[in-house]
Amino acid sequence: MQLAGLGRRPLRLWGALIALLALTTVGAVLLPRASHRSPATGDGLRHTTIEVSPSRCGHGWQSATAGLQVFDLRNTSDGPTEVYLEDPASQVVYGEVEGIGPGVTRPLTVRLGEGTYAFKCVPDDADAVTGPSVHVASGRRGPGAAPVTEHDLIPPAIDYQKWVAGGLSEVVRLTSRLQRAIDHGDLAGARWAWLPAHLEYERLGAAYDAFGDADAQINGTDAGLPGGVHDKGFAGFHRVEYGLWHGQSAVSLRGPVSALLKSVTGLRDSWAQTRMDPAQLGLRAHEILENTVQFELTGRTDYGSGSNLATARANLDGTREVLSRLRPLLTTRYAGLPGLDRELDRAQRTLDGFRHGDGWTRLDQLTRAQREQTDSVLGDLVERLASVATLCDPRRTA
């Protein structure tokens, strides 16, 4: 897998922004309510302006009608805040707007149906406040889900972290075996040993910055290196792969494999001291296979072994490992979970069909129909997994 940029958690830059916004805030708070200027809409939808502040959270509506509509959430407090529209009894959330700056009005488009609703204001630096409840008598509402809190995610994250630790030990063991083969000048044995070591690492789901800088040393490509595959900075599994499948001598590969072993050993040792951010769990469930689609199904990460489909299969295992830890949270929140399970099985069947003993079909040997099946099933999976990430994005509820 390829390291591709930073994680995508929204950056909390509010500290810096608050000072900037303070001036406008004073003006906004003092303005009489009638002078509030609604953003020009022209969308043909019913608009209701709702106040967002610790003292008047959710004020602005006494009654509501069913259907698609817009709430213009106007932050009259002096700090940024999150706003949820929830069922106050079940705490199921039907809409949210993150990080509304002081003095700012932002729209929330939702479909209301039969049920009770209240706005919950969650200021960045104070306790949550729930506004008045409003009942809607009829209609079918849009989909909702109970928020997942950071607290909910800590036990699965710890469990997952332990599993990764075990996997990293196995990566070290298998990489040592690869190194021994190269040190003995046994290139055939090294080619045979390379794949299990690499797949064990891929199974850990090192997608998009999960292992930080270490991943670039362990699993980077030649992207961005001036000398390409001959660049001194090209390191890790793919560097060794390039040599093993391009006729390089065992002696010339001693350095790269030794560096690789050092990197994976270093990651294993540091992993024990690292505490994984629980917020990463949902993202990993989604992004491991995004990475597969981007780098494996395109062949971008093939340096001669032709093992992209094996890697995709290992990535699927890695996704299942994350999902198994999130499952208790998802069963009550993700209506599409049975469909996701079905498609995971289908992807597994599809990929297993390309395995022949220890060997795998090369990507460029797939027929057009096989290629389309593979792209289709994995493309479908990432669409479904995107919902896991949004549902498991930790939210404050108190």
Binding site: G42, R46, R111, E372, V377, G379, D380, T390
Partner: protein, 408 residues
């Protein structure tokens, strides 16, 4: 469909059945907000009807044409796929506000058209290829009788990566973002059920200076089309009707031929005007037949039996000899220009995304194509892809879906 025809709030909801993004669906805009009095323009083509109105509608400024292969495992899933495709096409052509899904997923829409989708600015044409009638879905016995695999014609140089497919999907709009938005939306909702086999985008030039738009050889293209406002003419030439031996489900559909034709424009630009005009049989400036004055003059071949004015092998003369015998061989041209960059030796890769509709492939397109074989124009073009498809009968109403009669 015009948003102002709907009541306050929301007209409909939850079209999407069984798709990955459950809950996404259509909400029409309701009454126009105060201050927005602009009436919605007439729809590019009404979505509901006995026929796909997009077949007859004049070409828009842009189109996306994709051939797709179905990747579903069985007939029930194929049905789900076509229902989802119908739901998306209905929503995308009607416009409105995509239904928000709260925290249960990423945004329901890509947002590239803003938060409100315009109404009536997109047309969709859906067809099925003969490949769909193989043994995968048990449809072999239901194949439209005249639907075959497009053969290689004498002057073709077909590339298999650019030919055929289980389905055809054409998205017509006046703005590229409208068509691309639709492509993205449809692909997102159908990833598990179909994959794009090949794709070519087209465009229609504005009239230069008037009349029928020009192709990239500089000639007006499509002047002699049948009259699409005549129901009788369309029933005679375009739509599959009763008594033709076609399966009942196919009534109201039409055979769609797509031909991807590279034009060797550098070579063409090195040919004298007189030779160019004799190859087409029309004047480049006006589009008039060489024996006429203005574009829509009818060529009089009877008075020119030896081809002294319009050569016997001129394109328009071979394509449509305008005799009683050949009258039922006419077809409805719906061609677009295409431009896809450069080729390996630095020449422009552009040409014609030729598309035409007819009720009988052999009687119409193939007969004309055989008559055109060896015409002088063939030295300046290379047909490299395309396929035969059957444009499905129309989606009749809000409960109907593409292929219901075929699969139901």
């Amino acid at each position: 469909m015009n948003g102002t025809e709907r009541g306050e709030g929301v007209g409909r909801r939850g079209f999407l059945r069984g798709a990955a993004l459950a809950g996404a669906g259509l909400a029409t805009g309701g009454a126009a907000a105060p201050g927005t009095t602009t009436a919605a323009p007439a729809a590019v083509a009404p979505f509901h009807g006995a026929h796909q109105a997009s077949v007859l509608a004049p070409p828009r400024r842009t189109c996306v044409f994709v051939s797709l292969d179905v990747t579903t495992e069985n007939r029930a899933e194929l049905t789900d796929l076509l229902r989802t495709l119908t739901d998306r096409a209905r929503f995308l052509t009607s416009g409105g506000t995509p239904s928000p899904i709260g925290i249960t997923g990423p945004p329901a829409d890509s947002g590239i058209l803003g938060e409100q989708l315009p109404s009536g600015q997109l047309a969709v044409t859906v067809g099925v290829g003969t490949a769909l009638f193989d043994d995968r879905f048990g449809l072999a016995a239901r194949r439209p009788r005249r639907l075959t695999t497009m053969p290689a014609f004498p002057d073709d140089d077909l590339q298999s990566d650019w030919c055929h497919g289980d389905l055809s999907l054409q998205l017509h709009a006046d703005d590229p973002d409208t068509a691309l938005h639709a492509l993205r939306d449809i692909a997102r909702h159908t990833r598990g059920g179909m994959q794009v086999r090949w794709r070519l985008d087209g465009f229609t030039s504005p009239p230069r200076p008037s009349g029928t738009p020009r192709n990239l050889m500089g000639f007006k293209d499509g002047t002699a089309n049948p009259d699409t406002t005549s129901g009788r003419e369309m029933d005679r030439l375009v739509w599959v009707g009763k008594g033709m031996g076609e399966p009942d489900w196919a009534l109201g559909g039409s055979y769609q031929v797509v031909r991807l034709i590279r034009m060797l424009v550098e070579f063409w630009d090195r040919v004298s005007l007189g030779e160019q005009e004799r190859m087409f049989g029309r004047a480049r400036s006006s589009g008039a037949p060489l024996d006429g004055v203005s574009e829509h003059d009818t060529p009089n071949y009877a008075d020119d039996p030896k081809g002294d004015v319009i050569p016997l092998d001129a394109h328009i003369r071979r394509a449509n000899p305008r005799t009683a015998v050949t009258a039922d061989q006419r077809l409805l041209r719906r061609a677009y220009n295409y431009d896809r960059g450069m080729d390996a030796n630095g020449n422009l890769d552009m040409g014609l995304l030729f598309c035409c509709y007819q009720q009988d492939l052999a009687r119409q397109f193939e007969t004309v194509q055989h008559r055109l074989a060896g015409e002088p124009l063939t030295d300046y073009i290379t047909p490299f892809g395309g396929g035969y498809f059957f444009a499905l009968p129309g989606v009749r109403d809000a409960t109907d879906w593409y292929g219901r009669a075929l699969l139901g």
